[in-house]
């Protein structure tokens, strides 16, 4: 009950705010979805794929305290938790919904009165500069965020361009200051800041940079900051001891000394502001240089007021969201546009206006004919986010592939991105799914340097020292001695290898294709014939003993148990079905996955698995299962996909702060929603097929790049009418279980006749079923 009332309250508040011009698509976006608990989204202001995500940080629990990992740090991956009562300040970079924390660069906080140099604590906000706030005064919209800082009476508003965070602070009078905390960060620990440098160039311009050793190993953030009113006086506190080394002159370094540096710097700037007078602060970032940041500022925000920039940001979002027109229930529409919003934050542009960017080798490079992007949470996003970009944003996909190939070229390992951001590889999670992203783009006709792309996928999959690859290439699987996640890795390597196989095949590179076709059947090495479950082996070929198919930990899997992971063979569903004992047993196992009782001990202490995200033993809050509901489409009971997908859509996406049942993971959760709402899903990226689920909206009109329109109609669809009776493409009956990328890109009308009962006659012949490797092997 408590939860429902909160949701209601919120919805009312949000509608109140959004009702001013309800026709605008941006008014359906609720950036607060996922800001409570595990969603790890942030509510602040940004524009599509911008470098800037200007957002309030309500806390940043230090990652390490005395060397011990702090579990609560995970809550603050995006720096914000809805249940918090105070705001530390507004920082400029945030990851959208990730499963690891970082960034939170360049914190600005407007304060009144005596300057405090530390943030204080959630328990005792008065001990520091943070301020209490209320959600009553909080507004979160695409490109705009606003809140009243209760402790200071300052109204804070923010908007953004791609590279500039724009602040507007309306002060109540009194001693007005802007704090610039160059210690603050997400993934905070004592020592994260390697160096911070700040120059007061004149009374309205600051420049500087900060180098951090956070999750991103060495992150260079250059900045230029302008104020709309002149600085009256300023100073700083170095909370460490780094002065000028050997410095002894009689300078007052702490007051009005225009050059500030150190590892623990907090600076303040005093302004003469009357009651109700507003100060606008523009903070431009660059990965390259302070002069690059200043040029970014001038190009994107120079001479423009906060209101002009806010209007421009809103217009950008409106245009992006306008790519899909939709007819449906209010909350469903909100979820759709919010999902679109969340798919358009990361990847983020990572280069200056002039094309200069910092590469993986930390050197400055010049992007030739592409826009360089960063934030690649590839283990998550290869599944649906990148395929969604290939469908909706092929121009950006082209840039993303070029960025990934640049990353490959700069990698001393010769590897495509695994989890990379800000010119660093974080080596997070398993597989070499960069190859999937490249292969999927390739088969869908995204332009790329093909020879380089093939080299990149081959090289990325043959780095012997990475996560058991050497043993995998020798044995056909990763043995348990090499990794506690050996079984998961084997399955994912196998899928990635299939993607290389298919890409090479399409390129006519027969030899490469033959090698990888063989590797693509890796899962067979670990299919336990006694159960049909995937089970890890040691190098000698001996199965793991005391094996628990429900346990996520200690069984040779990661972020999923064997029950779920055993379905992870998207490239060879029919082969898998056979290994599991044929159609009947396969369907039974799928059914029981969604319906069985999972004892609490299996998820109680597991990050990313929430009770809301469970459906039996199926975990939607994490990625390895995202394709599973679609696997019925290869079976004799394809309508069960339609049932399950609707169930997941209805239950696991909600238009409220708890609306995501797991990390948004840079848009993967949201991309799943958008695809599934369209009625199809890229079960096996790297193929050109989308497997049908069932449409979610009565009508969706999708404006494709290049001017074509794809209209998806299902006039009778509802939670009751969730089953497909028949499908027509451009009026012609469509009897395949999948639709191809080329078919979609032509535009046209995809019409679904819906029904409250499954059409059990609508099953598929092998030719109508989606791709399966076993057919190539036969």
């Amino acid at each position: 009950m408590k939860k429902i009332s909160k949701v209601l309250l919120f919805t009312l508040l949000f509608m109140g705010v959004g009702s001013i011009s309800a026709q605008r698509k941006i008014d359906y976006v609720n950036p607060l979805i996922g800001t409570n608990g595990m969603g790890h989204t942030f509510p602040g202001a940004c524009v599509p794929n911008g470098l800037i995500q200007l957002s309030p940080d309500t806390d940043t629990v230090p990652h390490n305290v005395d060397g011990a990992y702090q579990p609560r740090a995970y809550e603050y991956c995006a720096g914000y938790q809805y249940h918090d009562k105070s705001i530390v300040g507004f920082s400029h970079t945030h990851l959208n919904g990730t499963g690891h924390s970082d960034l939170g660069d360049i914190l600005v906080m407007p304060v009144v009165g005596k300057v405090k140099f530390n943030p204080g604590t959630a328990e005792n906000p008065d001990a520091g500069y943070r301020s209490r706030f209320s959600h009553d005064t909080e507004k979160a919209h695409p490109g705009y965020y606003s809140v009243l800082l209760d402790d200071y009476g300052v109204r804070a508003e923010m908007t953004a361009t791609q590279r500039v965070g724009v602040h507007k602070y309306t002060f109540p009078g009194g001693e007005a200051h802007i704090l610039l905390d160059l210690i603050h960060g997400i993934y905070n620990y004592d020592g994260k800041v390697l160096w911070a440098n700040l120059r007061v160039e004149n009374d309205t311009l600051l420049t500087g940079y900060r180098i951090t050793n956070g999750w991103s190993r060495v992150n260079y953030t250059y900045f230029a900051i302008t104020f709309s009113k002149p600085i009256k006086s300023y100073g700083y506190k170095e909370r460490g001891k780094t002065l000028y080394n050997g410095f002894w002159r009689k300078f007052d370094l702490y007051h009005n000394f225009p050059e500030i540096g150190g590892r623990r710097v907090v600076a303040y700037f005093d302004f003469d502001l009357k009651e109700g007078e507003a100060l606008e602060v523009k903070v431009a970032l660059s990965p390259v240089s302070a002069s690059g940041a200043l040029a970014n500022l001038q190009a994107e925000a120079g001479g423009k007021s906060f209101e002009q920039l806010r209007a421009a940001a809103e217009e950008k979002w409106e245009k992006e969201l306008g790519q899909i027109e939709v007819e449906g229930d209010y909350d469903q529409v909100c979820n759709l546009y919010s999902s679109m919003y969340h798919t358009l934050i990361n990847p983020s542009v990572y280069m200056d206006r002039d094309g200069a960017y910092r590469g993986l080798d930390h050197e400055i490079h010049q992007a030739k004919d592409f826009t360089n992007y960063t934030v690649f949470s590839v283990w998550d996003t290869y599944r649906a986010l990148h395929p969604l970009y290939n469908l909706l944003h092929p121009e950006r996909s082209r840039d993303i592939i070029a960025s990934m190939l640049a990353h490959y070229s700069q990698s001393v390992h010769g590897s495509l991105p695994i989890w990379s951001h800000m010119g660093n590889e974080n080596w997070c999670m398993i597989g070499y799914h960069g190859v999937s992203v490249v292969a999927d783009a390739y088969v869908k006709g995204i332009p790329m340097k093909e020879e380089l792309a093939l080299k990149a996928v081959v090289n990325s999959s043959t780095i012997p020292y990475l996560d058991g690859t050497k043993e995998y290439m020798k044995l056909g699987y990763v043995p348990l001695e090499k990794s506690g996640s050996a079984a998961s890795i084997t399955l994912e390597y196998g899928y990635d290898d299939w993607a290389i196989y298919n890409m090479a095949e399409k390129m006519g590179k027969r030899e490469v294709a033959a090698t990888y076709k063989k590797r693509a059947a890796a899962y067979k090495h670990l299919t336990d014939p006694s159960s049909g479950f995937i089970r890890p082996k040691n190098a000698a070929g001996k199965w793991k003993e005391n094996f628990d198919v429900l346990d996520t930990h200690g069984q040779g899997f990661i972020e999923g148990n064997s029950w779920n992971y055993s379905f992870y063979v998207p490239q060879d569903v029919e082969g898998l079905m056979e290994a599991m004992g044929g159609d009947k047993r396969f369907v039974e196992r799928l059914d029981s996955l969604f319906t069985m009782h999972l004892p609490e001990k299996y998820y109680a202490n597991t990050e990313d698995i929430t009770e809301e995200g469970l459906m039996g033993n199926y975990v939607h809050g994490n990625e390895p299962s995202h394709h599973i509901a679609y696997l019925y489409m290869w079976t004799s009971q394809p309508w069960k996909t339609q049932y399950r997908i609707r169930e997941i859509m209805d239950r696991m996406y909600r238009n409220n702060i708890d609306g995501l049942c797991g990390n948004d993971d840079c848009g993967q959760m949201s991309a799943w929603y958008i695809f599934s709402a369209m009625g199809f899903y890229p079960v096996c990226p790297g193929s050109d097929q989308y497997v049908f689920g069932a449409p979610y909206f009565r009508e969706m009109k999708i404006h494709l790049e290049g001017g074509k329109e794809l209209v998806i109609k299902a006039p009778k669809v509802s939670s009751t009418n969730r089953y497909i009776k028949s499908v027509r493409l451009n009026g012609i009956p469509y009897d395949k279980a999948y639709i191809t990328h080329a078919e979609l890109m032509k535009g046209g009308e995809l019409y679904f006749e819906m029904s409250s009962r499954p059409n059990k006659k609508r099953t598929f012949t092998e030719a109508q079923k989606p791709y399966s490797l076993n057919r190539d092997i036969r």
Copy 2:
């Protein structure tokens, strides 16, 4: 006695080494001069004005231990003390003879056997990788250094180009390794390294960088390293805890993982080398990027053997030294060429081959039409080193001025260099003597952007918050409340202001000139009429009480006592003379300076003052007195200059490890020697006059840039015949007490008739005397 025998031994050793081809000028250079005690020189390999000074570090006593300054750190300003028994390794950057420690970047050490990851200690070298060595095996020549590392039986040889350190290690067989210690540094303390990054690009190429917070506040050193044989295997140790943050993959980061990073990294590289097989290692540096370093390597050392590069380095030195041909006694000649050598190490080139360099703002800039230089110990070098460059190396002076003006343009303070290196201002020592360097170059016709130069000198001298400048501009002196060095600062500001006055006057900028002419008489505010000594005042104009004119500490002076500093009015010697009570009293005071007994308590615990460097109360080991012996030239007893100068030359410059009586100070001590050996000295840089002392050699032939020759002859000169009987310029009797820059630059013959007795008739009329401000004021 002990000292003499050591000197003798050394001289014999050195002569033994140098006798191979004794005609070469480089064989007269003894890089070991000043390597013991206070000289702070280094013995390693470099080429003129190179970025690289590849030299053995015998120790690097940490600067701070638990926050407490370690006095012995001062000994290791250049990383080497002759009395040490072990070598830690060979690092690539060293300051020449400075009074503050820093650099020691990128340490390479060849070792055999089990790898140790720490350097060990002088007391217990076996505890670490350092090796014992003997001076018997040590060879130090311009462009070449060699030593046998006794603990490993490795013969180490090194040479250099401007941007590349070249190593040749001949191994005795066994397990051969190269250590790369990225923690090591001079001005070492826990935390100096902000980040070190290393990539093993292939089996013969490493790239990387290191960012340090040493004395140079943020020093970026990029590198590229090639090996002449392939790396067999490699690894590293991170002596801190910085792994990939959040890293958990099953990679072996410590062995053959090609990407190494952290704050405390020591890496090793294994090689297959037979007995007597040599490994050549080329280490290129860049202030900009690893690719810049690699390009530097390829351009300067690509495809060339160690022997070729050694020959090229020696040739460069031979050419430089060949600018002066000299006839004199062996040790005198050695001292002259060694002095020339020491004046040609700093300033150092600080840009890549393509003109890119890191500016004072830490941004990358492109040098247009100049070579960017760094290492400006301006308080020391404005006196004689920069004037020497104006005379002997006007091309480099032009570049140095352009570099200083670039520094000014990049300075957020609008200041010319004070003590700057590697894109940082260290704010060390007093005055704004960058204005002297610019003004001296200007009056001597060095091309520069004149408007910018005038702006720069005016701005540098009017920064209110720097060292009492605001009060100085108001009161005419720096009050004691503002600085413990208030009197020294006032004197030096006054001189600098005179340099601006003279420069503005020459430019026809009357208004500026008038302002600074007034400021140039600052010393008068602090001349105590009761004693004629300079004595500090407080802001209210009250003289300091309990004033001790002999004490260097706590009296309002720095690096000199009032006795010495009271003569620091080079711009107005006649005015000073008058203030001191006229000619007779002035001469008496000069006499007593050189002859009085200075009680030990006044120098016992004072850095930079050695017993050897004392002559009465005159301190040659530090700079403030460097001009004093020339001041007799304004008096009725000018021959006393001739006496004193010879005395200083004979006693305070010696061809041995203890050969300098104080820090060489980036060549200032050496430049003093060269000028004084020529027979004249720039007492007041910023004027075009050199004041005569007496020549030191029987003949010096100076090849001036542009092809002219200046021949200085004094056939009869000796310690006995130290007095000038008469002077002829191109055969015509010359009766002035000074000679101008223009006269010298025309070339010709300056002929000195010497005598064992002073020519007391040879005194000067006011018109024949050097410049004095009082004449402009009258």
